[in-house]
Symmetry: C2
Subunit: 334 residues, 2 copies
């Protein structure tokens, strides 16, 4: 059997390029007692991985140069030496290496129901991205019926889930994204109340004021930078701002500067809180149950951009920074 | 009887000067039914008043040009036309005008016990500043035993209360202030664990790291700006940052810029929340009861800088921005 992996060849400086990655052929490993050999089916490609490619201390360990990238993936059991798993079972693991075939300790993966939803959903709406939206919005944002929720990176995997969960809570939902195609999707298919194209708007602060006549009560921030400055200028008293991502700053090569936001946070008695989904580990069952229910009821649509071919992983990852994806970006290995 | 008031003559641009104020002689007013005539005894002089001198929308109404400044004050009843008040009663009012004698509706003031504590305490540790420290630290900062609490503006009225309340909670307390005299007071009289002089430290970020070997769990921010940047660079995961004031920025004539803090808030899953004491109006009785108890037990020391002479109000206010005060700054009218 062929086996390949993608390693981090060098740490990107600024925007990642193909040269930072290397595709290597390797042996197929053999599982020991208590281990399973799995074959990657769907691999998650996420903005936060950029942070792990740098050497700086962050909320997760940096990737090591010369070793494979790792992250969320759905895989099929090829050979099992653990009583709880059989050949053909499907599991979700986090992390799994960017590798076609790999051996893992059985306790690092979770078996999933092959029939409940398409398998790739477990990397998105029923996985980390769905839970990120669910806990970030509900636990930190605490949206109340009738309030206005603004989400940046709105057409992304987390963004689309945030907007829809906010709608379920009875909120007015305004999405910020970077292309007319994305805006059409948000408006026509997900029924966002207002959408803003940050590439075309010359005066973002005014555009947000126009889209939010009652001000902004919750700002779910996926992007940071100037887009966030414009939203922050429109927040209401007691606004809540979950900080989920700062993708506009991830490739910065020096400390990004901007208007200080503490004066606004003070003036508005606002709350800003950063989070990472693992903070909510003990509440995952609650999240999965609720999200699955909403998906079945058709209240929560899920869109994926699926790139085919294991070897396309680096290219797909780099494309994240051009916003090529609508919804969750996934590489299907075959 | 002589009567005087201090009006806002013009709005300050940048740092306030004596020219922004005017001392005027006026008539002694006569109370109507339901009103009382009061004589100001102690008048509170606070940094937040700078914000109200600007025209910009803020969390409280701007002062009007040509009208007296107003704020917290302790006053004595000179004449009462309300059954609940008698001549000689002492009241605390917020706001009272910067005026020697004034008429107010009886329901806008609260009678205080003349014997429980020195009268000026009701403008400080048993007034808005004590409650600001109490609710900001405990409700937002949520300090846990053994954690490290850093407070900027540490020698100010709020700062000294914050540090002592943090000590009562069993925390390691680090204070940042701007003179060796203040540092000595914090260290020798209030027993702060560490103190940092931001005027003398060349490398604030390192100074804070040295003073906080286990990192910063709670940062009670009174000042903003570069001092806060240095503290933020040292926060721990799940840090809490109550934003109480931003005095270093109040005189800024353009939007202050600095390193973006959202990436740190994200990386550390930190919580930053602004507040104004009126958010806690319904919990004031709890605050006063607890603070009075701590004052009586000697756990909460209170220091005031008292400037004598009603006409000194503008000068005292301007002096705030040079850090002339240790603890609460009060003008005694006689």
């Amino acid at each position: 059997m062929q086996n390949r992996q993608i390693i981090l060849k060098s740490r990107p400086v600024g925007r990642p390029t193909g040269d930072n990655f290397e595709l290597k052929e390797i042996e197929v490993p053999t599982p020991a007692e208590g281990e399973i050999l799995v074959k990657s089916l769907y691999i998650s490609v996420d903005p936060y991985m950029r942070g792990r490619m740098s050497d700086a201390k962050s909320y997760v360990e940096p990737f090591k140069v010369g070793e494979p990238i790792n992250g969320g993936a759905v895989a099929e059991v090829v050979e099992s030496r653990h009583a709880g798993f059989s050949k053909g079972d499907v599991v979700v693991g986090r992390p799994l290496a960017w590798q076609e075939l790999q051996v893992v300790p059985a306790e690092t993966v979770n078996k999933i129901d092959k029939n409940a939803a398409p398998l790739s959903y477990y990397l998105g709406i029923l996985g980390m991205t769905g839970m990120t939206a669910y806990f970030g919005l509900l636990d930190i944002g605490k949206p109340q019926k009738g309030e206005t929720v603004v989400v940046s990176g709105a057409a992304g995997a987390v963004g689309t889930a945030v907007g829809q969960i906010a709608q379920i809570q009875g909120c007015r939902v305004v999405g910020i994204a970077g292309s007319d195609e994305k805006l059409r999707y948000l408006k026509d298919e997900l029924h966002f109340d207002e959408v803003i194209n940050y590439h075309e708007e010359k005066e973002m602060e005014k555009a947000i004021a126009d889209a939010c006549p009652d001000g902004v009560d919750v700002y779910f921030d996926n992007v940071g930078g100037e887009i966030s400055d414009a939203v922050m200028a429109n927040i209401n008293k007691f606004a809540r701002i979950p900080i989920c991502g700062q993708i506009s700053l991830y490739n910065a090569t020096s400390v990004p500067t901007g208007p200080r936001i503490q004066p606004i946070i003070l003036k508005k008695s606002a709350l800003m809180q950063g989070f990472i989904i693992s903070n909510y580990l003990d509440r995952f069952p609650e999240g999965i149950t609720q999200l699955t229910e909403w998906v079945k009821e058709g209240k929560l649509k899920h869109r994926e951009t699926v790139v085919k071919g294991f070897e396309k992983l680096p290219e797909a990852f780099i494309g994240l920074f051009d916003g090529v994806n609508t919804g969750k970006l996934i590489v299907e290995t075959k």
